[in-house]
Symmetry: C2
Subunit: 398 residues, 2 copies
């Protein structure tokens, strides 16, 4: 016999979260790193050998491990995800005054990387199925505003070239990459994946970041693995991979002692000590993913018994890392979002809303955009809840 | 009775270096870090607490320690010296199409930071006394080409505004900052010090980086102290300091959970684990400086007995960190530079020439410049020799 559902209230949500989460700490963080592997050993080796910076083996090893795990031909480690995105856009040829399509529901870095290139962000709506960029709606929109010319895709309304699309795999959930790739091919747009949040997430069995011409990862302190600060550029194009390495290491030509630089390059190389941390963390990723998926399953079950709220679940075509779990309020409960944020944070359970939609920030208010009603709706109803991998450890089926 | 000097030969130089340098390693590096203090303790604490990234106390402590050591009011730690320079230029208001005066004899980062702002590097000659930007020659040059208008200094030849001057304290030796500050005041130019190489160097008793409106430090692996990769912005202007922190941390407004960004910011924050290394390193800097100065003194004495070559010594007004020691060939021996580089490196003594002059690189060949004859001459005669602090340990007078 089916149990009747518990009615929604902010207090009931807090009670349910408290029941599931450990009581041994004053505050349950949104996401904490877990160092239980070779982190000490590798970092100490860096200090013992003096190889903490650009010289040392861990950067190469970390890049190799990223290649093996994601299946891409070339990974280039950099200082952070923002730097990775910046170089990705340079690699596909984004130039000043180009437009780049990206979701309005994303972290500011996606748009800032576009600005660093002197290009203009053009905001796209989200899909309820993935929370990420909606390729079907984008297709309809481009049919209206885009014109294919010999030199690419042009925006008939602004007179600017549209060079690339940057989907972001929101909170770890992959967008519909097959459909998006079709749209990109039809409109001659470069596909750049912002996979900052989706290390450990797969689309139709292939890792996210392995679908775009180039892609960006992040290893910030709140990500599924961390290097302190760090990121990586992924690509299956060997020549772009070599160029990524060159541009992120000041574009210096190899020589035993001479300094010859053949481009305006960047100092984006990940230090060896941070890469050492990354190697140890990446060794643990199968465990982290399984713990985070177990935690998500537990949240999903727990909230299945409550009306007016649900836990967002991965799309059918995806296996997600569930980087940050999402409580999705029903539309009639959206008004309760801020009270729920207040109460949970007051009670030591860290939560946060989705990012402020980028097209609403004063700095990007003048940027072109399509109808963004789905993103607006989602943003009003999303709350992220504690998602550290270790919170799921006890729920893993062994 | 004065000893006659030994005649110059490449072989004699190599022999003298070999005599002075330790024989226990296959290769004597140009500069290696030294971790003999609290490095491991602090880094381990980061790992134990999980505070490796943006959360944690070491970034604040490192900034505080930098303030105390350099005497500036505000230090802001960032991912590297290039990022520091980029933000310094933004802070003083460098805008696209402005010109920025900088030496042609410097590392590529000085010019690249200008390019990141969409501005144009304008190359200045060097002084034989300091190896850095020559303020007297600059003054004469500006008298010719500059025009002061209500809105600043303009280049009559190119029609562009000249916004700032970026001296670089070459290999640790301070430029003549008083004279340069006068020139800047006269021509309404912002003074931005590239102090990447001069942590531990003082001009007339006050630390380099404490003279410009803003200044940049570097803690790359080859610097006097290292954080793996890292840098800092220094300023005595509290409001610019606050803006530096804001711009380097994605320009996010402070809030417990909301994401509101009020400018196109940067992800340039130094991770806590790298700052931990920095705290331990900065505790050791008095020792590093004294060891490096003792090593320099030893080199100076050793080469005083040879004709046609000398070791560059600090200008009268400076106390230098002697970051990288410099063999300066006499003009007639300049032709021997490359053979000396070959032979030393072959024999396991790492050496290098100065950087390729920036105005000669294809990417900056079109940039405006003054007569650069002194820099050209110096570049043809400079060779950097091994300068790790521990090489000087046995020479320190106790």
């Amino acid at each position: 016999m089916k149990q009747p559902k518990q009615p929604f209230s902010v207090e009931a949500v807090v009670a349910l979260l408290k029941e599931m989460l450990p009581r041994d700490k004053d505050v349950v963080a949104l996401h904490e790193p877990c160092f239980q592997g070779n982190e000490w050993a590798y970092v100490k080796e860096c200090l013992d050998t003096g190889w903490v910076s650009s010289v040392g083996k861990y950067v190469d090893r970390f890049e190799q491990m990223l290649q093996e795990y994601t299946g891409v031909k070339r990974a280039v480690a950099v200082v952070n995800g923002t730097a990775a995105l910046h170089i990705c856009l340079k690699l596909v040829g984004v130039e000043p005054n180009d437009e780049v399509l990206l979701p309005t529901l994303t972290f500011i870095a996606t748009a800032n990387a576009v600005s660093y290139c002197g290009a203009v962000p053009h905001f796209v709506d989200s899909s309820e199925q993935t929370l990420g960029l909606d390729p079907v709606k984008l297709d309809d929109y481009l049919r209206e505003i885009a014109e294919i010319r010999k030199d690419g895709c042009w925006n008939k309304q602004t007179g600017r070239r549209i060079k690339a699309v940057v989907p972001m795999h929101t909170f770890g959930h992959p967008v519909d990459l097959d459909t998006l790739a079709e749209v990109c091919a039809r409109y001659r747009l470069e596909l750049v994946e912002d996979a900052a949040e989706s290390l450990g997430s797969f689309y139709k069995g292939r890792h996210t970041g392995n679908w775009g011409r180039v892609s960006a990862l992040s290893f910030n302190g709140n990500k599924i693995i961390t290097t302190g600060g760090g990121g990586a550029i992924l690509t299956n194009d060997e020549s772009l991979g070599a160029l990524a390495k060159h541009l992120t290491t000041t574009a210096k030509k190899p020589h035993r002692w001479a300094f010859e630089h053949d481009a305006v390059g960047y100092n984006y190389r990940l230090p060896n000590i941070n890469a050492a941390l990354g190697c140890a963390q990446l060794e643990m990723i199968p465990r982290f993913v399984s713990e985070k998926r177990a935690l998500a399953e537990q949240y999903i079950q727990a909230f299945a018994g409550m009306e007016g709220i649900s836990v967002f679940t991965e799309p059918d075509f995806a296996s997600s890392n569930y980087w940050l779990n999402i409580l999705l309020l029903s539309p009639e409960n959206a008004v309760q979002r801020d009270r729920l944020l207040e109460l949970t944070n007051e009670q030591g359970i860290m939560t946060r809303p989705a990012w402020r939609l980028l097209h609403e920030l004063p700095i990007y208010r003048g940027a072109p955009s399509m109808d963004l009603s789905v993103a607006k709706d989602l943003e009003s109803r999303i709350i992220n809840i504690p998602s550290s991998s270790f919170l799921g450890a006890s729920y893993v089926q062994t």
